[in-house]
Each structure stands twice: as C-alpha cells, then as structure tokens.
Amino acid sequence: MPEGATSSAFASERLQINQGAEETVRELLRSLLESGKVNAVLALGRTGGPSGGVAYSLFRDPEAFGADGDALPLLPFMPANAGGLLSRLTLEGPVAEPVAAVVKPCELRAFIELVKLSQGNLDNILLISSTCGGVYPLDMGIDGSLEKKLPTYWERMEQGELDDDVRPTCRACESFVPEGADITVALLGEADLDTQCTLHLNTERGAAFAGDMEGTTVSGKRDSEALERSLDERKAFREELFAGVGVGLKDLIHTFGRCIGCHGCKTVCPICYCRLCYFDSQNCERPAGFYEGELARKGGLRVPSDTVYFQLGRMAHMAISCVGCGMCTDVCPADIPVSTMFSKVGAAAQAVFDYQPGRDVTEEIPLRTFEEEEFTEVAT
C-alpha cells in the first residue's frame, strides 16, 4: 500500500533544525570530522578546481564542509553510484573507525545489495540519505547547465515536484525514500529548505551521531502527503517510460543495435561486482572457427558479436538486484536507454519473487534460496 511505501522508512523521532538543509548537512559533517566522531566522509565534491567537475571523495579535512569548501553533499548529481564506492572501501574488511557517507536512496540500496553479496561491510558506516528528487544526467554536469538548474531544482523540490530535466530514470523511480539510512534528510516536499530542515534519526547510531545538532526533537505521525503524490506521479511516468521501449526481438535488436560494446554499463553498474565479467572472460573469446561456423549458418554475423547475448546475459545475472540507479543509461556513449530496459526487466522479475533489492540486508537474494512449493506452473 502506498502509505507504507513511503513512511515505513521513517522512525517516529525526528529533529527539526532552523537552518537550511544544505547548511545543516555541511554543519553536521564538519562537526563529525572535527570532533573525530567520524574518520572520513564520503560525499560529492568539486574536483579539478573551479573549472573542474564533480566526483565523490573521501573527505578528511573538515574545511571541505565549510561555507566555501569543496564538498557538495546534496548536489543532485551522480557521477558514480556511491554504493559501489562503499563496497570498494570496505571490500577487504570493515573500516576501523566510523566513516560517514552521504548517499542517495538508490546508492544506499546498491550498497545493501552488495553487502548481501559479501562485497562490502556495513560496520562503522554511518549512512546519511535523503528523500530524493532525482539527479541530473551526467552531460549536464559537463557544460555547466547543472549549476544554472539548481535554483529551479530546489524550488520544485519544496513543492514536492521533480524538475523535468532530471534523468527519466529518476522521474520513474518509486524508491526515492531511503530505507535503512541512519539519518534521513527530509527534502522532497519540505518547505523553506533554505532556512529550515528536518533530520530523521532512524537508528540509534543516527541519533548518537546527530544528537548534538541544535534543534527540536519532534515525534509522532508526520505528513507524507507530498511523498505520496510524488510516488503517484513517478509511477505514472514509469509506466509511460516502460511502455516507450518496444517489445519483441526486432525491437530488442533495434534498441541495442547501436551498442558499441564498451560494457560501460557493466563497469558503472554497482550490482555488477565481478572482478572479471563473464562476457569479458575467455568464455567469450572465440576461435576464428566459431565465427566461420556461424557465417556458414547465417551467411553473415556481427563482429564483435554477443551484443544481445551480453545484454540478456547481464540481465539474467543482475536484474534481480537492479536498484534502478540509472548509471548505465548515463554512461552509455550510444544513448541506449539501458536503465529503462533493465529496470523494466528487473521490476518484473523482482515482482515475481516479491523481492525489493536493497530494502533490508537480512532479505535473501532470490536466487540464493527457494521454497519447496512455488512456481509449480513453471515446471511440469
């Protein structure tokens, strides 16, 4: 039911602060670093100086979160899925001292999913997320148009709406409310984000770390009307989007026909955790004889082949865990709506198994388990 879909994620406790959201988050992180409560903060920040770009960084110097520091914790931009980065950070074991990470809901889900796959470790990671209004596509981060967009973005956020220019994937995202975050910054549909802000301290850890922020603790039922509305809008958009990509073999080939085989979608996909992808491995390095065989059979074939094989195969490998973060579409040099395809397939598959990736770290990944009595219709 929609109600639950958005509010179940919140603890009843929340902290209301008379300071803009941006300032609050910067303030919080700076104090955490200064006090040494956290050893480092993973957040977005400026790179390469003024004319430069935006990337995630592990910040140690509190000044980064000062008024004109490099950090940009709430920037609606996603140069990488932080879930993958957190996995990289904790792959060889938990961090010794707390590290805070400011992530978007889909990044958080990706990390949870990776932890399930033993590709990361939650210990000592303080997860800070927010109700998400989506992010802008990568190319807007290059030409500077992102900067210009920000005022509109926040304006519409306050109204609980999404800017039309955020990535379609985001506009079609149903899981924009973080689950399992220690601290959730309420953004979507919150009034006066530049002067006030609400922090939901969902866990004891959250409370412990954000405890000494100045603000008033409020409890009890909160109004999630804006969220519900956004959910409905996004659902609608999602159906549109999915309907947009045709079905059937021909359409599939049309969609992926211009794939240049860079496998960038795989590389940036947080769920694709393999060190060496099956489709880059020896298994797909074929002797000339193979191609000659195919040639004899069909009179012609694409080289390098395996375009469709790669896409379908990758779906079979990760769609069940796809968190719909949209990185794959963003990165595709051939402008293929990869994410739309994968979310569509993923959503359907996840529905079949009644599974929501990244919702709960204790939730088993469907293919790692089974029921004695299920899907009896499939096998006959």
């Binding site: 010794a96 060496l276 491995s281 020896q282």
Partner: protein, 982 residues
C-alpha cells in the same frame, strides 16, 4: 682405494675462483689457500686486467653457502709446505693463520673500530675493507696495532682475536690446482715510463682503484694539485718495455682504447692519445671499440719505441717516441696513464720445488701440449695467469676446463646438500605479522630509539607482534630468532637487520627453521639503510617506520608456495665432429654420461687440412677414443632436424641418411666450426704465385720456397663486412715468415696491426730473424690495402705508391662464420648469434667479451644448456678450441645429471595468472633466459621455473599483472609502495 674427492686450490686468480665455484657447485670440497691476509688482498689484479671500472667477480661466489655445506675451506696467510703422494692421493701440508676477525661470527657492528685507540691516517689500526664482494673484511694493521685488546673485549660475538696462532694443516686431496694470482709489474719494471718519478704518470689500475667508489669520474684523473688535466696519453707499456719484464694480456689494447673513450666521455674537450705498437684487439667486439674510439676523436699513435719523462714538480710528462717510420717525436701531456701487463709469476720456483711442476722459458708454468691446465705432474693443474698472459675469457675458461681435466683424478662427490626444513602452509590462517628488529647486540640502541620503533611497529595494521632481537647472523642468534618467531605465533615475518645481499641465507635459515617460507618474509637492511648512513634520530625513526610499513604490507600479501623439482637429463648432444665437438664428446663421455655426436660430413675430424702432424695425430686420437667409447653414439652425414625443450630437457630429431633418430639430452654443444674466408682480388686465383697462408703451409711442407715473399695481413678481416680480427692470421704468418727466413727467403709483411699474442713473442722473433714489416694505412679500408700487380715474370706489391717485387704473395685470410648454417641452427635452437655472425658468448658481451662479470656469471642455465664451442664461438687457435670445449664441459658438469634439481631460485620464481594472460608474448621476448613459452593451444604463457633467475622483466612488461614473481605480486608492490609514502 678410491681417489680423494677434495681439491687443493693454491692462489686466488680468476681461474682459481672459477674452478672453486664449479667444484663447489658440482659437489666437491675444496681448500682455498690464500697468500693474502684477507679474501682478496690481491683483488686489484682484476682491476689491472679489467677494462671496466667496476668489479664484483668475487661476489659471484656463494661462499657462505659453500662454507655452510662444508664445500669450502678458505685459509689465509697461507703457505704450502709439502706435497707428497700421487694423483688422486696427494697428501698436502700447509700452514695458515686465520684472519683476526672470523667473518662467520662477525656481525660487522664496527664496535672494534670505534674502540680502537690507534689512529692511522683517516682510520684506525683496525679497519674494514668493504670492497670485497664476499663480505666486509676487518683487517688489522699490525704495524701500528698496540695489541691493547680493546677490540677483542668489545666484540659481542668473540669473532675477533688479535693474535691468531699459526696452524699447520695436513690434508688428503685428489688433485692440486695452482692458481697463483696475477702480478703487476713493479714501479721499477716501469721506470722507463717514469712511474714514481713525477705526479703526472699513473697506472691504469690506479685509475680504476681511484674509481672504486664512484666509477670513472673526473676525480679519478685529477692531478695532485687539484687541476683537471686536458691532455692525456694512454700507453700500452708491454709494447715498449724491455723484453721479459712484462707480458701483455690479450685485452690490453682494448683496455687502453676503453680508457681513452671513457676519458673523452667525461672530458669531451680533452686531447687523448693512445700509444701502442699495434692494436691487438683480438676478441669479440674489440674492433668495434677501436672504430668507436676513432669516432670519439681519440688519437691512436703507433710507436716503435717509447719512453716517458715526467717533470718532477710540474704536472707534465714528455712522451718520447719513435714512429713506425723511425722518426723520433716528443709529445707533452699532463697525465700519462700506463696500461700495464703482468710480470712472470714470482712463485714458480717455490711451486716447482713443492710440486714438481716446471717453468717454461718465460718463467710461466709449463703445461702439457694440447691440454688446458695439466702440468707435467699428474694431478697437478695450473690455471690463469700462472700459465702465461691471457685474456679474461681464457683465464676464466681455464677454471671450468680444470674441473673437466681433473675429474679423472677425483673420487665421488663429497658434498651433500643438507635436508631442507619442512615449511608450514599458512593458507587459511589469519594474517599475523611479526616485526623483529635487530639491535646488533645492543649496538644500535644508542643510535636510535629502538623501543619507540617497536611500539610504533606493533601499532601497524596486521602486526601482531614486534620485538627487538640481539641479532640473526650468528649460530646462536639465528636459533634464538627462529625460536622467537615460533613462540610469537606469527605467520608473516619482517626482519629488520642488515645486508640481505650477504646474509640472506642466514635469515632464510632462521625463518625456515621457524617453519615459514621466505616468501612470507621480508628482510630490511636496517643497518645499511638507516643506522650507518644517517644521524638525525627523528628522521631515522621516520624512515625505519616507513621501511617497516612497506615490508609489512608486502608480507601480508605473501603466499606460501612449495618449490618444484625437475631432473636434468644426463645425456649430451654434440653438433659437429671437429676438434671442439670431439673434445666435448669424449670429455662428457669420460664422466659417464651418454653422448650423441652429429657430424654433417661422412667422417669425423672436421677441417684437418690446416693442421700440423702432431695436431692431426691428436685429432685422430680423439676420433678413435670416440669410436671406442660405449657412451658415444655417432651419426655422420647427419644433421639436426628439430629441437624442442629447454636446458635439461631437450628433445631433438636427427636426420640421418637412413631414418630420423630422436634424441633426448640435457645439454647441447654447438661445435659446427667456421670457414676460411676466400680472398677476393689480389690476383688470387689468377696467379698461382698468390696463395693463402694455408696454401703456403702446404707448399712449404712440399719443400718449396721462394726468394722474395710478400705477406699481406688482414685480407678479409677488420673490414666493414668482416668487422673483427680473426685472431690467428698474424701468429700463423709470423711463424711461416720465420721459417722462410731460415730457408733464406726475403720476407716482407704488409700489415695494419700485428695482433700476435701469447707467451712466445713471434713478432720479436720475426724481427730478429730479419723479416721486414711495412704498415699500410689501415683504418681506411677502401684505399688501405696494397695492390698486387704482375710485373714481368714475377709479381709486385704496391703500397702507398711504392712497389715491392715478390715471387710469392701470401694472403693472410681470416676466419668467417658459416653464415647460412649458423643462422639456421640459431633459429632452430633459439640461440643468438653475435653481430659478427658467430654463436654468441653464453651471455651478452657488452661492452665486449672482457666485461668479465659476464663470463663469471654464476647462473649456469643462462645459456639454456646450449654451449657454443670452438670456431662456432669465435676464431680460435687449436689449443683455444680445446679450451672452449673443456670449459663448456666443465660448466655442463655442474648441472648435468642432477635428478632432483630445484629451480635455481627455489620458490622465488616467476608465475602467471593464466586467467588474465592474453598470450601476447611480450614477456617471452624480454625474458633473458627463455624461461617462458607460449602454449599455442591455451594461448597463455607457461613458465620453465628451472630457467628462471627471477629478474622480473616479465612483471614489468606485462601490462596487466598476469605475470608476477612469487615474492613480487602486483598487489604486494603497490601496497608496499604506498606504505613507504604515508
């Protein structure tokens, strides 16, 4: 009663070292008698002889391993007293006095030096001689030592005793090897060159000595006043010295040229003149370097006579010389560098008294004809400079040839490698790193804050234990360290001690005794990298910590791997049935190993037509012993079809007139010989009176002679096409010339350089016999050669416009490689040819063959079990051909027939992540030893661990870390690097 297996080696020349090395590796004990008071007091002989300014020959001796295994007993201040018995059963008596400091107990802590009250010049009465590659030697200057004993008291391990008793030792040995050291001519020998008479005359060896710590730099030639000379003379003294005073080792000319080139490198503006009589560059690459010198602007002045008169005070010397044309000239230089030869051995008399060996007319040790090291006395051998002037290769080859020749007098191997300790596989255990920091018996305590360092080391991630140890270099401390490692329960070890270069064996022993593979450990040179080279405590602490951090990160990622073993096939394949091939075959067979001999022609013997009677007889003898031997299978009219495999595991197919035969072998000898180059022009082939030296020999045998004989040297040698000296032609021509003179003929030799070499100075003899010599402008090949014309009935030789009538014109033609055959074989064996077209020396001979370190290279498998011998390797005389063959056999004997051979580097070999390997083969191309090969089916690289010397070139060239060394994995090195920089 079986023969003794031990060998007594008297003296420490390069040949002796090489023999000792080979004996130890083969498994024979040897006693090394050193007249000097420490390992190579006489070391600088190498510098005198080496053209290079760096030397680490002695470092190639795994002396610690040899001592540990009991193979080596080295005695100092030693003197041979008596020799009795006979070959195989000598009883020797010698006296020795141990060095005050026993290197095996010595930790090189330098406390003795610190407490020594006696100042001598810069240092103290006890000082360290670090240049010695074996170990740092502590020597006491007994002249000044007061015997106060302070050093003895302070020595933490009791390694030092000021007074050592002189001991008389008796031993039973199977053979005796005389290897007495090279001796430089004395200052008096060189008085004609003004040595010691002024500041501006210096020996080349002194220059090298000055360059020891810096390599050759300007300061090596700086004048006492501090001025930098701008005019130099490099003088090859034996060319001008009085007869019999000094002898010229074969590489002297090129040493002079090399020095001149280096001078031009560091002082491009300087004027450098090389004074010599002839340029005698007879070895590989020598001619190349001669041309290089000319390009570099070095002036080469050929003189008939020469003397140097230095000014006593002013830094200037006058070179008085007469040109070849007889006009006397003088040139004044600021520094004259004397490239000196060697004196006849001073010990000969004593040695012949003791052993019965005989000196030859020049005072060198006489050898049996056609033998390399056999003296007149059975079982007594002599190598290196003791037997005459040599080039470095010949000196070194002597060593292994001796091993070959002495086999028949030696009993069974008497050194058995100790059992390896069992190591535990730590896979699955949580990583626990232990850091053990050596205090060098408390020595380091006051140099820096060790406890503080330990504290910080313990705090490093992954480190579960850290402590200070007393040491890990003496028996007890090694044991103690092993115990501590065990008790601390760690499974990775960082040992912060001192020089792994010298003590790695000890550290390995410690950790292996503790049950850990050295792959799980890292040894830090705490002393060399921190204690002895720094003063600032804080900085030292930081640096030590960085080093430890790096080591910890490295060992954390270390994995245990158990080393493999391979068998080295005991069979040998010899290609070519000439002198070299026959020698190799018989010698290998004589040691009980099966041999397959392949000869292209239908009978053995090779090119015998140029040989004299004795030589023919000798070859016949070899052939009959080949035929007689049950160990040798001989295929004539046969050739090598295909070859696969690698050292110790070759599989070859031999094409015979009947059916192909397949052969397995561990080693392959390439003895395919070379050809006499046939002269072009000079009316050769048009006029019967124009002939080659070989043809001359035939005619002289037939009793013919002529009144006027002209000889032209360097026909088809030292030309752009044949860019080398064929080594043999000059001596051959001179011998003939002398004979002809005896028969009353007028002989004129037209030459560029008379490159005669050897004990017998044929050059001088020929001159004395009245042979006349006319030099033609040699460096300009195009116009240089004299022209041969018909002149009425006879002939005339026209050189530089002058006509010289002649009845016979004899052309001294060179030796050229059998290009076609060599290239095919090189392809087949994957063995390189050198730029001259001969089979390369077993390793790269840059800058040229005398880069002696190359020749003493201890990695037996460096040549992948392939040994080019005889003329296939380079132009060689009859005797030298035998020498190359016996040297090769000696080197083969070190490895051949080993049943359980571990990789030379045990577990430290290269490996491949096959899932990442793309089979691109770049690592195969850069591997210096053919230790890698592409598996054509799997398209990945496979390793031949037994050829791998773990240099890591494969790691560096591999773009994605598919190649790695067991102790140098990508993840190890990156993490370690980062840790250094935190």
């Amino acid at each position: 009663m079986p023969n003794e297996s031990t060998v007594l080696i008297y003296g420490t020349n390069l040949g002796g070292y090489r023999a000792a090395y080979a004996l130890g590796k083969r498994g024979h004990k040897f006693i090394l008698l050193n007249r000097g008071s420490y390992v190579d007091e006489e070391k600088y002989q190498a510098l005198a002889q080496l053209p290079l300014d760096f030397c680490w020959i002695c470092g190639h001796m795994p002396q610690r391993a040899f001592k540990a295994s009991g193979a080596m007993q080295d005695c100092y201040n030693a003197q041979l007293l008596a020799v009795s018995g006979e070959a195989g059963h000598f009883h020797v008596k010698f006296k020795k006095r141990d060095k005050p400091v026993n290197n095996f107990a010595c930790t090189e802590c330098d406390q003795c030096i610190e407490v020594c009250p006696v100042e001598v010049g810069e240092g103290k009465a006890i000082r360290v001689v670090p240049e010695a590659g074996w170990e740092n030697c502590y020597v006491i200057d007994f002249e000044h030592c007061t015997r106060c004993g302070a050093c003895e008291e302070v020595c933490p391990t009791g390694a030092l005793k000021v007074e050592r008793p002189e001991e008389v030792v008796e031993a039973d040995v199977g053979a005796i090897l005389l290897a007495d050291a090279f001796e430089e001519p004395s200052d008096d020998d060189l008085r004609d060159f003004g040595l010691g008479q002024g500041p501006s005359v210096i020996r080349n060896s002194e220059v090298a000595r000055r360059s020891l710590l810096t390599n050759f730099v300007r300061d090596s030639v700086r004048l006492p006043s501090g001025r930098m000379p701008q005019t130099f003379a490099v003088i090859v003294t034996p060319h001008f010295n009085r007869p019999g005073v000094e002898y010229e080792n074969y590489n002297l000319s090129v040493s002079a040229i090399y020095r001149a080139i280096r001078l031009k490198e560091i002082l491009p503006e300087a004027e450098v003149t090389v004074f010599l009589h002839d340029y005698r560059g007879t070895g590989k690459g020598h001619h190349q370097w001669y041309m290089k010198a000319l390009d570099a602007g070095v002036r080469v002045e050929r003189a008939e006579t020469l003397s140097v008169v230095p000014d006593e005070t002013v830094e200037e010397a006058a070179i008085h010389y007469t040109s070849l044309e007889g006009e006397s000239r003088t040139q004044s230089v600021e520094l004259a560098i004397l490239v000196t030869g060697q004196s006849p051995p001073s010990q000969m008399e004593e040695l012949s008294r003791l052993t019965g060996v005989q000196a030859d007319e020049n005072g060198f040790c006489r050898l049996r004809p056609f033998s390399c090291c056999e003296t007149d006395v059975d079982g007594v051998f002599a190598v290196g400079e003791l037997t005459g002037p040599k080039g470095n290769p010949e000196t070194v080859w002597d060593g292994c040839a001796a091993l070959t020749e002495m086999q028949r007098y030696l009993g069974e191997k008497n050194v058995a490698p100790g059992a390896a300790p069992s190591l535990r596989d730590v896979a699955g255990e949580p990583t626990r790193v232990g850091v053990f920091i050596c205090s060098c018996f408390g020595q380091f305590d006051d140099r820096m804050d060790l406890p503080g360092l330990v504290e910080r080391a313990r705090a490093l991630p992954g480190v579960s234990h850290a402590e200070i140890i007393e040491g890990c270099c003496t028996g007890p401390t090694i044991q103690a360290t092993a115990e501590r490692i065990k008790e601390s329960g760690v499974n990775r070890v960082v040992l912060a001690t001192c020089t792994p270069l010298q003590k790695k064996g000890k550290y390995d022993k410690a950790v292996m005794t503790a049950g850990l593979s050295p792959l799980l450990c890292e040894y830090l040179r705490f002393r060399e990298d921190v204690i002895q080279v720094h003063t600032d405590p804080e900085g030292m602490l930081m640096k030590s910590l960085a080093l430890i951090r790096g080591a910890v990160e490295k060992v954390k990622r270390g994995r245990h791997v158990s080393p493999l073993v391979d068998t080295f096939d005991g069979r040998a394949l010899v290609v070519g049935g000439g002198l070299a091939g026959l020698t190799a075959a018989t010698e290998i067979a004589a040691n009980g190993f099966p041999v397959v001999l392949v000869e292209r022609e239908n009978e053995l013997g090779g090119q015998t037509k140029y040989l004299d009677e004795e030589q023919r007889e000798y070859v016949k003898g070899l052939i009959s012993s080949v035929n007689a031997s049950d160990n040798i299978a001989c295929y004539t009219q046969a050739k090598l079809g295909q070859v696969e495999g690698y050292a110790g595991n070759y599989h070859a197919v031999i094409e015979t007139p009947t059916t192909p035969v397949s052969v397995d072998a561990g080693v392959i000898f390439v003895a395919t010989g070379a050809q006499e180059s046939l002269p072009q022009g000079f009316l050769y082939g048009e006029d019967p009176a124009v002939m080659t030296q070989a043809e001359l020999a035939e005619r002289m045998k037939g009793g013919e002679t002529a009144d006027h004989v002209a000889m032209i040297q360097c026909v088809g040698s030292r030309t752009p096409e044949v860019p080398y000296c064929s080594r043999l032609c000059c001596n051959q021509a001179l011998e003939h010339a002398i004979l002809l003179r005896e028969q009353g003929a007028e002989v004129t030799v037209f030459y560029r350089d008379i490159a005669s070499y050897g004990k017998t100075n044929y050059y001088r003899l020929a001159k004395e016999a009245g042979v006349s010599f006319i030099r033609f402008p040699g460096d300009d090949v195009e116009t240089g050669y004299p022209e041969v014309r018909r002149n009425g009935a006879g002939l005339e030789v026209v050189s530089e416009g002058e006509s010289h009538p002649a009845d016979w014109v004899v052309l001294s033609t060179g030796i050229v490689p059998d290009a076609e055959n060599n290239e095919a074989l090189s392809e087949l064996l994957g063995y390189p040819l050198d730029y001259e077209g001969f089979f390369s020396s077993d390793i790269s001979n840059y800058p040229y063959e005398e880069a002696i370190k190359k020749l003493t290279k201890p990695f037996e498998l460096g040549s992948n079990g392939i040994f080019p011998v005889g003329l296939a390797h380079s132009p060689r005389s009859f005797e030298e051909t035998i020498l190359t063959a016996k040297d090769a056999v000696g080197r083969a004997l070190v490895v051949i027939g080993k049943n359980k051979m571990p990789p030379p580097n045990k577990m430290f070999v290269a490996a491949v992540h096959e899932s990442l390997c793309m089979g691109c083969g770049v690592c195969v191309d850069v591997c210096p030893y053919g230790a890698r090969v592409i598996d054509e089916i799997e398209r990945v690289v496979k390793i031949r661990p037994f050829l791998c010397d773990s240099c890591g070139s494969c790691v560096a060239i591999c773009p994605n870390n598919a190649s790695y060394l067991q102790d140098f994995k990508g993840e190890q090195s990156v993490a370690a690097l980062d840790a250094l920089l935190v």
